[in-house]
Structures are given as C-alpha cells and as structure tokens.
Symmetry: D2
Subunit: 485 residues, 4 copies
C-alpha cells in the first residue's frame, strides 16, 4: 500500500481524512465533555498526580467524539497515546482530526478498506525502535489478535523458518493479517516478541473481544494480563443495553428515514444488545419479534410481550431485521431472497459475518444500488425485489449514525481508564497474571456514582443499624458478586 504517514508541526504522526475538520471536532468534543462526567471526574481526581507519566497506550477502538474524550483523559493523566479505529466505518473524521492535531497519534478515517484498516492498526502499535505500547485499549480484540498471531508466527519462523501463507485461509481479512505478519518477519523477526515483552496488559471493551480472551486463557495462550471491561455492570448493562436502545433507531432513521411505527421488526438475539434494540423498536411503535437460542432470554422476551420466533417463519412478514447475536451466519442470502421488497437488514451485534455479506455479494445477478454511503439496495434478479443493507453488514449504529451517545460511553470509558490505571499501577506488583480479570465491584459502583450528579440523583445512606442488619458496608460494595442487576 502506498499510504503515507503525516506529521504535525510538533512531529506527531497521524493519518486522517481531513485535518480542516479539527475545529469542528473540537467543538463537539467540548460538548461531549459536559456529557461525560465520569471521564472528567477522572481528570479532576488523578490529573495532578500524572499517574500515566511514561506510559505508552495504544488504542484500537472506534475513533469517535466520545473516544476523543477518553484519549484526552488518558493524556491528561500523563499517557502518550497512539490510536486506530476498530471498524472501517466507525471513525468520525472530525474527531480524528481534532485528536490528531491536539493530543495523540491517530490513524483512522471513515470508510477504510480492510487493507487500510490493518495498516492503521499496525501504525497504532508501532512505537518505533523501542518496541510497542505498555498498555492496549482494545475493542473486539484486533490489536490483541495481531500481536498473538505475530508472536505465533515468529515462534514458528524461529523454529522452522516457515512464514505464514495468506492463501492458507479463505477469510479475506485474515489473509491481510497474515500478509502483514509475513512481511514484517523479513524486517524484524522479533517485532511482536518485543511488543509482548513490554506489554503490561490489555483492557477489552466488548463481548466478542472478551470471548476471545477467555478462549485464550482456557487454551493457555494468553500472552499478557487482560481486564474484561465489558463485564463491568456499568459497561455491559449500560452501554450494550441503553446505548443500543439509543443508537439503533438513530442509525435506522439516518440511513433510511423509515417510519418505525407500524412495522414488523425481528431482532436476532435477546442479550443486552438485543434487549436494547427490541425495547427501542417496540417503543417506537413497531411489532417486535425476537429469535433466540437461549431459553432463559427467550422467556424474558415473552414476559415483555415479545414473541419468540424462528427467522424462517417470519421472513416474508418482517420489514426490519437486526442481528445482535455475536455469532456468525445469522441472516443468510437464502433468507434475504425471501424477504419483502425493501426490507431493511442490519447488524448491531458484532462483525459483519452476522449477515452473510459474502453470499449476498456473490449471488448470481444480484445488483447493488448505492443509495448513499452505508445504505445499499441489493436487487435480486429473479424477483426483482430488493433489500436494504446498512453499513455493509457492519455495526450500523457506528456506520450509519454516530454510535452510542456520550453519557453512556462515559460509563464504559471510565471503566477503561480505571482498568488501564490498575494495569499500570500494578505493573510491578505481580497482581495480574496472564489471565482475564474483571474490575472489583467497588470500582464498578464508583463508576456509577460518578454519573449520578449530572442526572440530579440523590442516594440514600445506610444507617449503621441497617448496614449491620443486612451485612453490607455503609460504603459498599452493596451486592454480592453474582448479583445480576
């Protein structure tokens, strides 16, 4: 690829779409700060002490306005930061520009190719001759994946001299990853080993990324400590649920202007993300149905008046299809062919493989009509009817709208800051092994507490007698670990 890194006047590297949008980005960052009390409280509480002094942090996480406030919280606490997006459509170019100009090295723009995407990831991990980052903020686990695959390849190369063969996989994205690693072996066959050595740990944002980490922990292949931010209550029960309740209709409306009221909508999956989506659609006046594999989640849907169906049974009836499962192959091209004309198909769950984009793109005679970026009408030759696919099957709230709103991201990102502080502060203590950890409940409760004032809430205090009666400390934590909220 012929991409060139740009450099600010102060010498910081970047690659963004349009640096002239930096002022606009700054205005929106200013607004977002008012909506992100948790992050701002971290600046107030920790800023003066500069706890991240000397720390290099690489982030691979949607380069949005909200992420900008996260980055500038990390830098306000003393960190040096390099950043890329974790989704080819999720960057907000004005946010990227403002951060690139003012605060950190950014490699991200809206509408990257997959090649460009991994080039950006590599750049964000590349701290020059002295190795990689001290800490990673990851979302979906791509930065973590690259290092793990890189180390694996370097080991094989050291042992046998073999280099990865991109043609060994038919996954086009993984071919790119292997190519990057293969090419790197020539110039520095220990690049990823050096990264691994330096790394104090990763904090991971999402269900999908966390699943990968636990799999590596189980397999014994995890190379550094990991904090599972996703399973903080103030993350998964807020961002996944309330964030999607906000951003799903936002994405639908910006992409299609369709009236949700009166429509039949099928949400595949009724986890936290699915619950948020179903709630939003129902409240907007749609008739919502869900599909589920898990009988408990299915029964929850029923208790909310939502029928549990199979996708096959409602293909010809529904107007809107949303995948939220974190699994692959949820809506196949064979399903899409049976849908109503102009049925909307979108994914807010996980990777674009929830929807069979590969099958759709390769359907004989299919015609793609770009209505506008991220909104495509695909017309089948046999029926001459079309379906509307959002964000090319990728996360539609980030591709078609601006992702989750600032306030709920403040909860998630305050967890990130706390997790990064934990990993950094304990870097020498041995507290964290090569395992996956969740934050202790008192920190989770602290994140929540930091967000109450903005909304005018007033907590009640336990009396000493009440505290004793229920054996709960006056200052918390207030619930046992297994409490489900």
């Amino acid at each position: 690829m012929s991409l060139l890194v740009d450099t600010t006047s102060s010498g910081r590297e970047y690659k963004v779409k349009d640096m002239s949008q930096a002022d606009f980005g700054r205005l929106e960052i200013d607004l977002a700060e008012v909506e992100m009390p948790g992050l701002m409280a971290c600046r107030t509480e920790y800023g003066a002490a500069q706890p991240f002094a000397g720390a290099r942090i690489t982030g691979s996480l949607h380069m949005t306005i909200q992420t900008a406030v996260l980055i500038e919280t990390l830098t306000a606490l003393g960190a040096e930061v390099r950043w890329c997006s974790c989704n080819i459509f999720s960057t907000q170019d004005h946010a990227a520009a403002a951060i690139a100009r003012d605060s950190a090295a950014v490699f991200a723009w809206k509408g990257e190719t997959l090649q460009e995407y991994w080039w950006c990831t590599e750049r964000a991990l590349d701290w020059g001759a002295s190795g990689g980052p001290d800490l990673i903020v990851d979302d979906g686990g791509d930065a973590t994946l690259l290092i793990h695959e890189g180390v694996k390849a370097e080991e094989e190369y050291a042992k046998s001299g073999a280099v990865p063969d991109p043609n060994a996989t038919d996954n086009p994205e993984f071919q790119i990853v292997l190519t990057i690693i293969r090419d790197g072996l020539k110039t520095d066959p220990k690049r990823f080993h050096k990264m691994k050595e330096r790394l104090m740990g990763v904090s991971e944002e999402t269900t999908t990324g966390v699943k990968r980490l636990y799999q590596m922990q189980t397999a014994g292949t995890l190379l550094f400590p990991a904090i599972n931010v996703n399973d903080s209550v103030t993350k998964s029960k807020f961002d996944n649920l309330y964030g999607c309740r906000h951003s799903l209709p936002d994405g639908l409306m910006r992409a299609t202007d369709v009236m949700i009221a009166g429509k039949v909508a099928v949400v595949c999956g009724y986890g936290d993300v699915g619950k948020g989506c179903a709630s939003a659609l129902k409240q907007a006046g749609a008739r919502v149905m869900i599909t589920e594999i898990d009988p408990i989640c299915a029964l929850q849907a029923l208790m909310e008046g939502i029928p549990v169906v199979t996708l096959e049974d409602v293909l010809g009836e529904a107007d809107i299809f949303v995948t939220t499962t974190g699994n692959k192959d949820i809506i196949m091209v064979s399903h899409m062919r049976k849908m109503k004309n102009n049925a909307i198909v979108c994914n807010i769950g996980h990777f674009d493989n929830e929807i069979d984009m590969h099958g759709l793109e390769n359907y004989p005679g299919v015609k793609r009509i770009v209505i506008k970026p991220q909104t495509d009408r695909w017309v089948f030759p046999d029926t001459n009817t079309g379906i509307i696919v959002l964000a090319e099957g990728r996360l539609m709230n980030l591709g078609c709208a601006t992702g989750h709103p600032s306030f709920v991201m403040s909860c998630s990102f305050t967890n990130q800051v706390i997790a990064q502080l934990e990993l950094w502060n304990e870097r020498k203590s041995g507290k964290y092994e090569k395992k996956v950890y969740v934050l202790p409940k008192h920190l989770d409760e602290k994140v929540a507490a930091l967000h109450l004032g903005k909304l005018g809430a007033k907590l009640t205090k336990l009396t000493p007698e009440q505290s004793e009666y229920i054996s709960v400390p006056v200052e918390g934590p207030y619930k046992p670990a297994h409490y489900r909220y």
Copy 2:
C-alpha cells in the same frame, strides 16, 4: 435580490441548490414510494382519467422527499405544478433537484434567507402572464397570506393610491412581504386580484394555517374556498402525533447526539404534537414534564404519569426544552439565561417565534458558536454558560433531520390529493363557498384504509344484523362527526 431562475432543457423553471443531486433524490423518492401506499393508490385509482388535466397547482410546503412523491402524484393525475418550501431550512436539496429535473418547477433550497424565501414563494405563485394557479397546497398559510395581503394592498392602492409601508411593522419578515407587494404594485396593480379570480381554492396542511383561515372566515375576508386538511383525523391524529414521535428524537440525535435517557425534558404544550414529543422522550428514558394552559390536556398528561409544571419552576432542572404550542413567546431569553449549561432548546410547533430568538440574538454580549448548521451554542456573558438552540428556533425536525417519515406523510398527503381533487372537480358546482371545510368522514376513513395493507392489517366486516343494531352502515362512515379517536 439578484437571484436568477434556471431553466431545464425542457424549458421548466427552477432554482435549487445543486442539480447534480437529482439522481440521489430519485433513489430516495423510489424508496419513499414504497412507504407511501396512499399516494401510490391515488395514482392507480385516478391516474388513467387524468382528473387534473389543465389544472395549475402551486404548493408551498416543505420540499422534502415525501413532498416529491406528493408532487409526482399530482402530476401523474394531470396537474402542472410549481413549488416552494414553507420553511427556510426544510428543503431536502436532493429532493428539490430530482423534482426540478423531472416533474415540476421548484424554487427551494435548504438554508434560504427570509428574502430568498419570499422570492421563492412569489415564483411558485407566478404562472406568467395568464395569472396565478388554479389551486394551492399550503402549509402554514404563507402562500394564502401573500395573496390576501396583496389583494388588500391592491384595493387600498386602487382606492387611495397608497402603497404598503414596510416600516409600518417591526416584524422583519412581514416587512419583506410588504416590500414584495409594494414593488409588485408598480408593475401590475392587479396581479393578486387576477390570482384571486382564478383560484378554485386552497387546501391547508397545518394547525397554524387552519387557524388563520378560520379567523379570515369569521372576519369575512376569506377570498376563496379552503379545505382544512389538518383536521382530517388521518392527518392531525397521525402526522402531528406519530410523525413528531418519530422526528423529534431524530432531530435531537442528528443535531446533538445527546443521550436522551436520564435527562429531564420539558415539552411546552400537550396537544397532538406535544403528545407525540412527550411520548418519544419518555420512551427514550427521559423524565418528561409538560406545560399547558388547557386543563383537559393537562389532565391527560397526568393520566400518563407526566407532571404538569410551569416553565419558570423547572428552568434550572431541565436538560431539554421543546416548544409545541402554536403560540408565540413560549421560551423567552429571560428563561434561557436561567437554564443549565448546554441545555437544548428547540421548537417543533409552529414558527420560530415560539422561542424568543429575537431576544436571544440581541442579548447584550451574547456569543453564538456555530457547532454545525442548525446547531448553535449561545453563550451568555454573565454566567459564561451556554444553551444549544436547534434550527435557529424553527421546526427542528425539518431543520435538523428530514421531517416526518414517508408512511405518516402518505396519510397527510393523500388527504391533500383528495382535497385538491374535491376543489377541482367541484370548481363549477358551487359546492364550496368562501369558507373553510373539512373532508367528509368517509374520505378520511378511505385514507386510513389505503394504508392498512402495507402493514398487514385485516379489517373485520359488520354483519347486516350488527350494522342495523348500531345503526352504522356496513361500509361506513363508522363514527359520528364529533368522535374524538
């Protein structure tokens, strides 16, 4: 003004922002047609007969994608059409371009000045030497106003030779109207009289426009028949209510990306528009309060769990303020000064005078920061806090988003088509005098019926015995005139 009218290759006049967006507009019009079954059914039912053959229709109504489908329904039925927008921010430029290129004379773009706005209105009414339109589709009543004011001025001029004095009013917009009329008197002192003579009637879309019409009817000054489309059940109880339920959060999200959940929102007015707004905000997780003058609407709010407050009592508590009253001077600059930092202030009710924009603009030392078009932060010098005003106080759903979605507009606009057909078909019968009429209930029910199939509904039929028992014809109308739905 130095605005010049453009001309298509076929000789049709237009003035739009960017003709190159016509293809994009056409794609969105194609999608909208699928969502507007009532309009499409009109084409099927009446198209072949060309009932509007020979009719000239002028429209002054937000030049959106949905309106494009309305316009092309009118032309499909044989009409010739000229169009302008009824709001300086509400035009969708790609819609305007597609219509200008393909179907009708359009004078509209997003972000007109007030001068440009009235120039467009004048153009839409100007059918050349042979006078004005046969029919008007009006929204808010500006086209109707211009003719009435013009006729009044021409009468005065004929009587006394006096011309209107723009300085006689301190309303800057009305100064423009008077200037236009004054300037026209020089070239053709009977221009508006000729229009009046030709006009078969107007069909009016909104509560505000209808109110003006009834006032003129009462005063005996109405110059031609008017059909009150707003008070068709399938308009006011659908577009006003369900349209705003959809487009208020849409506008808020596109303009500010603010998280609605957790916020305190005050909706001023609990009529149909206010009910839609309050419902949307509540369902998105806001704590909603309303203000009302009418005890019945207030009691309705209470029955839905919504407190009824005065604006003064909650200024420092609320995060979002929405005006829906149809009245003026609802939120004054004295109120705005007492709001929280970054409180959002917007109007979805009527004209920009619901919010005291004049007072705000002239507040000593106030600073306006344009975040992006239609999203301004106004900072007060004394507190150094700011508020965010959407769409410069004009209809925020049209200024910041794309207005109501197609499906609900199909209900409203099918009423428009039917009203226009009534006025045209009865142009010689004397059925309609210079009064305000509502459509008969069976036509209202027909509009609803045309929209059921798209949503998969199946009506029940009265048996003859049941029909007799309740004295309601099997084919309807099903309710007495006073029924409230």
Copy 3:
C-alpha cells in the same frame, strides 16, 4: 315477584343485600371522597345555595362507592334521590347499604336476577302518587327506555285498548320490560305519561345510552331533553380510556389470578374502551392484537405496534379475549368452541350480548362449572376443553372487580352533577328542547380544572398578547369544538 320494600327508621324506602355493611360502606365512601375532588368541589361551590331544593332525582347507574359519593353530592345540593343499579352484578352491597341508611332510597344488590333488576328500576322511578322524578341520571338508558316504552304502550292502550304482549319478542329481558308495562296498565294507564310530563330531562352516562338517545332524536320520539355526558371530553376520553386501563386488569386478576405477561390477548374494538384495555394488557406484558371495523382506529392500533386481525384467524392462538365494541354478536359460541383450553372470555364494552351467552348456554352438552361467583368454566363435550367466562358476559370490571376507580369517576360524575344542574336550573327557560345536548366546552374544561390540584399540577396562564395572537380567551375555552384531544 315477592320482593318487599324495606323502610328505614326515618321512613325512607330501600332494598339492599345487607344493611349491616353500612359502616363498612361509609368507611370506603370516606376514602373515596378524598379521591373525588370534582364532586367535593361541587359541594363546596354549590352546597350552601341548595340549588336542587325540591328536585327529585332518579338514578339508574352502578350502585358503587363512587356512585355513593355522587348521590351524596346531589343530596348535599338539596335533591331527594332514588337509585337503582344499571347492571345486575355491579352493585357494591356495602355502598348500597350506606346510602340506603344515610342518604337516599336505594334498590340494588349484587347478583340480581333480571326480574329483580327491572323491579328495582321501577322502584327507583316510583315517587308515589305525585308522579315520577324531575330528573334522571341514566347509564345505558334503561330508565329512559322504560319510560319511553311505557308511554308508547299507554298511547296504544288509549287508542286501541291493546296491551303489550311479552311473547311478541324472543329477547327474554325485553319480555320482562313488557310484562311490567302491561301489568302497570291495569292499575294506572297514565303512569308513564305522568312521569313524562314531570321530567325535566335525563343526563346519560354511556356511549350505548347516548346512541339510543340520538336514534330517538332522529326518529323524533325523544320525550324530554337529554344531556350527553358521555361525550364530554372529561368523560369519554378519561373514564372510558383510563378507567378501563385500570379496571380491566383488576377484573382479570380478581377473577382468575392469571398472569397476563406472556399471554396473547385479543381486544375486539379499538375505541376509547378498547384503547384503554389494549394499553393495560400490553403494559402488563401480553402480546395484544385487536379487531376493528373502522380503518382509522385500526391504523391507530398499528401505529402503537398492535396488529389488526380478524377474530377467526387467532381463535386458537389467544389466551384472553375482551370485547369492547358496543355492538352485539362479537364472540359467538362457534368461536368459543375453537379456543384454547381455559381461554378467558370477557366483556367490558356494553351489554352481555357482545358475547353469545345465549348460544353458549344452549350448546348441546355444555357443562358450566362455577369456580366462584362471576367466574365460570364452560366445558364443551366434544373437545372436553373449557373456556372461562367472566361476569356471565356482562361488564367484567364491575362484575369481577369494583369498576373504575374513584378519581376518574369523579370526572365523569362531576359532569353528571353539572348536567343535572343545567337541566334543573333551565327547567323553565326553554333552553333545552327534546333533543340531545353536550355540555359546553368551558364546563368540560372546568371539570378537568377541578381535578388538577389533587395531582399537584400547575397550569400556565396565557399572556394577553398570546391570547390575542391565537385568538383564545385567557380563561378559555381553549380549543375549538371539533378538537379531538
């Protein structure tokens, strides 16, 4: 019949179930007064002037605690009152006892036979030798019906000597009515004429009763003025809607203890009553469907996410069936046979003929199992499955629970008091002819205003400038007559 009228120590007649419940009734009346601010305000405003001094009022309206507060408001204003219930199951015996002991002549108990029901109605209309009442408060129109049928029979008798033949109808209830009239002719062939002469008018509570009145008005057979209380906004849009939203689930729970969440519920009819029922069931977690004949109401349901189906299509799927139509023959025995085992069938609309009780009772081999009063399981011989019918097909909220709650009935009944005052105050003015009237909007608004304080609401006042701008008086009325709320 061998029913005997009892007499209090003060000489007032009554017939109730159990006078020992009077104390309990009084306690509940005391509680209800706190919840009925409109009625209490009437006592405060009008009590001292005793406007009803000399007036005889007969009421035929569910003898509940709320009605007790109405009755005692009428007596507090000087009226003498006789009362019966308008439904064989709706009397609350403790309410009847308290009123009989303390305030008015009551003839009502829970579980009357139809014979007893009409005996009670006759007693309530029987003011002794000096004729009938001056005013009637009617609900469903049975008292009005009896007088009209009586007058008709007396006219025929005077003309031809013919007496009504109960066997001329196969409606068993109407046979009873004719029998009463026939038997009365022997003792006083001018009884109903005397009533008619004295009567100043009736105020009618319900949709069904009002429909009858308008039919008589159209036919020219209405014998006295009538005020349509049902169509006061503060009645039909409150009691019908919010009252049923409260009392439908109340009746279901008391009768069956069934979990509503997760169930499929079909509401037949989506008028005000149906809207209240559908809303309650949806919010409790049921999947709600409706049936409708009216396309406008159907489209409203769709906008709320409620599918519009035909009863036939969902017989085997639904768990709960509710009729709200005001029509007859909605759920037939042929439908019931196809329902799931233990499907619940109930009516909250109108008379018991919404459900084909006659067909059910006469179905060959059907078996009725009384679970408890008003809750019957009917088992079909062929399938050996059963359905559960509430309140024998009559209004289930009154039969199985306690009807609408006090607060919303205070709205309805304040309208009744105002209507009765109008009829009485204008008895000599000729203001009211033998027609049906609705109360003027300012009185409707007054009723609402009287209920705001209790709920802590604070109205906004129009400024004079605003008042002029929208041409609405500062003190109201605030809306045009056709406004739909």
Copy 4:
C-alpha cells in the same frame, strides 16, 4: 396455646380455617395446573420413577394455590409432605383446605397470630417420634432458623443447663421462638439435634433467606447443605421481577381501589422486586420515584426515566409508598407523620420491619381504623390526617391479593422441585457439603425451556459451525456463569 390438630379420615394431621372450602380450592388448583407447565412437566418426567419415595419434606412457604401445585408435584414424585405458611397473612384458605383434605399435612390459615404462626411451623417440622424431615423447602428461612436456634440452645443446655430467656430480646417474635425452644427442652433436649442429623438439606426461596444462609456459611454455623433457589435466573429474574410487576398493582387495587394513574409513587429499593414494582406503577400512569443506596441500581433507574430521591425529600408529595429493600427501618413513623392524608404505605420486600409498624402502633394517640382486613387507616392525633397501611406492613401482594400468579411461580417452584431432587438424589454421595449452592446453569435453562411451549415460543438451534465459532454447546449451557441476563 390451646390449638388442636385435626385429623382427616385417613389419619393425616392438619389445621386449616375451613375444610368446606376444599372443593373451591380444588377447582382453582385445577386451573393453576394449566398455568404451571414446569411443575406438570416434572410430574410427567419423574412421576413414574417415584424418586421421592421414602422422603419426608417439610415446607414453610406461603400456602397458596400455586404452592398447592408444588406440594402435589412433590407428592406425585413420591414424597410425604407437611406444610406451613411463612407469613401470617399469605395463606389462601381454600388452597390449604384442598391440600389438607387430599394431599399433605397442612397447618396454615390467613390471619394467624405470631404465636399461631410458630405453632404451625413447629407442627410442620414435627414428624413424630422418628425425628424431623429429610428435606426442607424454606421461604425466608424461618424453618431453618428454628432448627439452628434450637440446636444452639440444646448445645448450651447440654453444656451449662441454661435455657433460653425470652426476655433477653425485645423482639416480640423472637421471644416466641425462644419460648418454643425453651419449652421443648423440657420434653426432649435433643429434639433439634435429631432433626439436624436427619436433614439432607434445605432449598431456600428468597433473597432474605439466602442472605441468612450465606451469613451462616461465612460464620461456619450452617448445619446442613442449602440450595439457593432464589438466585436461579429463572427465579430471581422472573418471580421477583415479573411476579411483583403483576401482584403489586393487584394488591393495591384489591386493598384500596385507588386510581394509580396520576399519582406520585415512591418505591424504596430498585432491585429485582423494586424494578418490577416501579415498572408496574409507571405503566399504570403513576409518576414513579425510587430511593436507593446502590449507585448502579440508581443509574439503572435514571436510564428508565425514574428519578432517584431520598424519602425525606418527597414525603409530602407522594401518594403511594412501597418498600422493596430487604432491609429494616425504611419507612419510620416520623416519615409517616409527614405524609399526605390517605397516603398508602405498603411493603412487598421482606419482613414487616421494612415499615416501622412498632413505632406506628405506639405513636401516642394514634387511632387505627380497620377499613377491611389488611387495610387499615391510621390517624395521627396532631394533624388529624391518616395514612393507609396495607397488610399490617407485611407482604401486601400476599396479604391483600393472592401473591404472584401461577405461571411465574411455576418457574420458581420447578427450581424448588429440581433442588429437592438434587439434595435427595445426592444424599449419600457427599456432593453437597454444609454450604450454600446454586443450581447449575443447564438446570436453570431447563426450567425456562419447560415454560416456553405454553407461550407458543420457538427456539432457534445453533448450527455446529455456529456452536464452534462461539464455543457454546448446541444444547447449552448458553451463557457463562457470570452472565447477568
């Protein structure tokens, strides 16, 4: 006490209110069976094998219709059962009668005194000379408490000869417990030791009971294995949440007939029970506020549009107060004095000490007016205003209504059956130590699955590829242990 045990013709002991209600109880049990698919499926799956043959089960759990179906499931699987209620007001006398006549030894009636309550508990544990039960089904932990306190006293008595002194506590209920134990020591100083020896374990139903068990586990004083049924997802996230959402309004309506719409309601505590209550009140049209000590739960409320307040701040504003905390001293008499006239105060959380009933009863000059059983108006002498207290401060859904509906209790009780089976089947394996266990996730999922068919749900199946991709077995369990639903 002079209570005498009755005996059926077959020799089984019982003490119930009225054996003549057994037929009515049986009819309602028949209906409930149709609504309790999980329990019925247990009978089908395990009945033939008679797994409980030889097992003695004592239950201390609200003796309702639903519990009757549980008891008869246990007996259908071979168990012998003795039962008491765990709340003085929660017994449904017809249910108790049916079970006493047909299936098990029952000692329970609605409206026990505390003395009677503990007499019943003692009877249920008393299996005659051969010791106590093999298994306990407990709710709130009273049966477990009695045994633990008994064993402790017997140990002290064996050691020092000292007997418990009831006057050593000022808790009147605990005085009764100590008296029972003291009196028992005289006749059999090893009674509770013998029980302890025989007991295979307890399965506990509630949050409160579970908390006690964990405290004993931590203290090392737990005498036998315990299964925490409460924290099965299909219990705490269903019964606590959806059960209360149903039964809170049911209790309010039966006790007071109050209109919930328009009222201000304060829910103390926003755990599962509080969430259910707040949701129900909000949906019924109340303005809901909550109090919380836990910032996470508080933030959840805010995201649903519910303000978080302190009780002190809203005492004069609210109409309805509900405690759901599981803690004591939530609403004190000092609070009650400041409430509005006829404010309703009730508890659905835990014991009657959530409300300061002691303080209320002993408030100088306070007057109690019994409106009807479980509905008392308490009038303060200084203000002469009153508040309405439900169920004497005990669980109002059981005291004033019929508790949770059958369907959701089927989920809870199927967990109980499975837990009892586990304890019994593993009685010799040593699998369960003297600790607290939760059921494994696959059993939790099984409980849910058993309830889907009744509601017409259709689950989706993972393909092998999907199963591998997300590392989840096709047959489940589908979620990690920490998943929160």
